[in-house]
Amino acid sequence: MSDRIASGILIAIAVAFIAMAISIQPSTFSDPLGARWVPILIGIFVIGAGIALLVQPRSTTRWPDRKTASRLLLCLAGFVAYGFALNPLGFIVATTLAFALFAMLFRGTPLRALLAGAVFSVACYLIFSVALDLYLPTGRVFAGWF
């Protein structure tokens, strides 16, 4: 069933993909193929492979139960929140919190998770920002502090 649903979604995406390719403006360059034909061919290819899977599904997928699924969603929310927290909170605070959340999802105890997160984020900051000179945000909330 999962195979059928996935191929259905992919076919729908590929149809939209082709429709968008057709509406690509032809350029003034004299290029025999233009910008739209390769995407159209790719779309046709995906539709073909999608139909092959749709008519003959290959395997069944065991999806996680409700409890595991909620942990997965929490993990995903953690990834998204981490990205948006990076600039306002700064690398060290955001990383400590994200690390602690992930660590607790993998059954670390809260206190140890927070502690490991703090140590890890400071170590990363020292390695990547101080030693390797990569840009990591210090955080808007700390703007006036330093």
């Binding site: 193929l33 779309g43 492979a49 899977l53 999806w63 997965l72 992930f102 990547f128």
Partner: protein, 514 residues
């Protein structure tokens, strides 16, 4: 052909302090990356790309580092295979069969030693192959025009679709997904924006670092959340990591044969180290296993896959360096890094960049010696890394992946692209759709389109140009063969290897043997 002169020059390049340091860093990190389930050479290299760019090291040093990670991981992956029955990367799945049995019988020390020695034999023998075959192939490939390149890339797509994963049609779908992602951004021919939805960050296309870390590292975090069991207990009491002279000679020809076959399999696009290891294992089982002891802790069952998967790495570098057309996910990421530095691997690459090529070859000899030392007397130290609890390890990898993606453009948008692709990678892996073809198609898609359009432009728009030269006929025949074989036999090589190969979905995917 003159080999000694350029090779000596290569040693001059490889022996500079900076290159020695990066070779050591590469093999050291490679051993660790290979050993830890959940992170393999492909995301290891992707994480290091922004860091090496920021350090502004020269391309030769960068290649020495990345190659070190690639072949170093083939040493490390057997450590967890033997001690935990969990392959560090998919290419050591075959090593678990006899390696873990040996460890269970208290022979972990000899198993680790055999794996290190076989890796060394496979690694060093195959570098000869690389040094010898690459210049020859380059000379031959000078005749490749845009039409030939286009068909060659199609061949790479069909073989990787057929050889990774259990179902050919799912491999094709993965390639299609990668090609669709590759069209996002400004069209390479005319500069028209495609599929950007008016979002400025998409004009440059999907960044391959974000894509690789998302599809492999982030997806792996999700997958590991589902797995509660984490293999057996770590055996830290391994005894002395040594084998007897008798054991060495019993495996001698096994290693030589496996190195040769592994190297040749590695050259083929799509096949790579996992298939090389399984092929060597089943060949040796047929050839030398007269008593039927393979699978019950036979030391030759460790020697065969370990010699083969290391040899396959050197083989995989050949199409990357001489044609500019990589055959696996990891080599595709290395190509993307080279392209980002405005280096275009191809038939003239070795003659234009002799320092890079011969320096790399020489550094691989040095790196293999370093690895032998790291993996024989010092293996006891590495084993302690396996004691790091998962609740520290997994968040650590996730955070380092985040830093790497963020440091490319300092863009939160890239982080969201990475996270979305992490979800995509999770769904694909759950459904037995291989992920490596997505990366390969993402990197090769623009090259495919450019070559097709160039070929058609040169031929005034006539499609027959794709079928005119004898080289294209051979390549089309190979395309047809790679499409027909899995359809006619109704199974892909990975599926044919039986249930033990199930987690060997793609060459570089980090796997948990759950």
């Amino acid at each position: 052909m003159e080999l000694l002169g350029p090779l000596l020059g290569g040693f001059q390049t490889a022996l500079t302090p900076q290159n020695l340091l990066f070779a050591f860093l590469g093999v050291f990190l490679g051993t660790m990356i290979g050993m830890l389930p959940g992170i393999g050479p492909i995301n290891g290299i992707a994480i290091l790309i922004p860091i090496t760019f920021a350090l502004d090291v020269n391309p030769t040093t960068m290649m020495i580092l990345f190659a070190g990670i690639y072949y170093g991981s083939q040493y490390g992956n057997s450590i967890s295979a033997i001690l935990l029955n969990v392959p560090g990367t998919a290419s050591s799945v075959a090593t678990t069969l006899d390696g873990y049995q040996m460890a269970k019988r208290g022979r972990a020390g000899p198993a680790l030693a055999m794996s290190a020695i076989a890796s060394f034999v496979g690694g060093t023998l195959s570098i000869f192959g690389l040094a010898f075959l690459a210049p020859l192939l380059a000379q031959w490939a000078i005749r490749f025009g845009p039409a030939e390149y286009f068909v060659l890339i199609i061949f790479t797509f069909t073989t990787i679709s057929a050889l990774t994963g259990k179902f050919f049609v799912k491999g094709l779908l993965a390639t299609g997904i990668g090609l669709m992602l590759a069209t996002i951004g400004l069209d390479p021919g005319t500069g028209v924006p495609r599929y950007t939805f008016g979002l400025l960050p998409l004009y440059d296309g999907i960044d391959f670092v974000s894509a690789t870390i998302g599809l492999f590292a982030v997806a792996e975090v999700f997958l590991m959340l589902e797995v509660t069991r984490a293999g057996g207990e770590v055996r830290t009491a391994i005894g002395r990591a040594m084998i007897s002279v008798k054991e060495f000679w019993s495996s001698f020809w096994v290693m030589i044969r496996s190195a040769v076959s592994g190297f040749l399999v590695g050259v083929l696009p799509g096949a790579g180290a996992t298939i090389a290891a399984f092929l060597a294992y089943s060949n040796e089982q047929r050839w030398v296993d007269k008593e039927g002891t393979f699978g019950e802790g036979d030391i030759r069952g460790v020697a065969a896959p370990e010699a083969a998967n290391n040899a396959a790495v050197s083989g995989a570098l050949i199409p990357l360096l001489t044609l500019g057309v990589p055959g696996s996910g990891t080599t595709a990421v290395i190509l993307a890094a080279l392209l980002a530095l405005n280096l275009n691997p191809g038939p003239l690459f070795i003659s234009q960049q002799p320092d890079l090529f011969w320096g790399l070859v020489a550094s691989m000899y040095i790196g293999n010696v370093m690895l032998l030392i790291l993996n024989l007397p010092l293996v006891g130290l590495f084993i302690r890394i396996l004691l790091i609890p998962r609740w520290v390890l997994v968040p650590g990898v996730a955070v380092i992946g985040y830093v790497a993606v963020f440091s490319v453009n300092s863009s939160v948008f890239d982080l969201m692209v990475m996270t979305s692709l992490g979800v995509l990678g999770y769904l694909m892996r759950k459904m037995n759709i291989p992920v490596a073809p997505v990366i390969l198609a993402l990197v090769l898609g623009p090259l495919m389109e450019t070559n097709l359009r160039r070929a058609l432009a040169l031929a005034q728009g006539s499609w027959t140009v794709l079928f005119e030269s004898p080289i294209t006929w051979v390549l089309w025949a190979m395309v047809i063969a790679s499409v027909l074989l899995p359809i006619l036999t109704r199974r892909t090589p990975v599926a044919a290897m039986g249930p033990s190969a199930e987690s060997a979905e793609e060459e570089d995917a980090p796997t948990l043997n759950d």
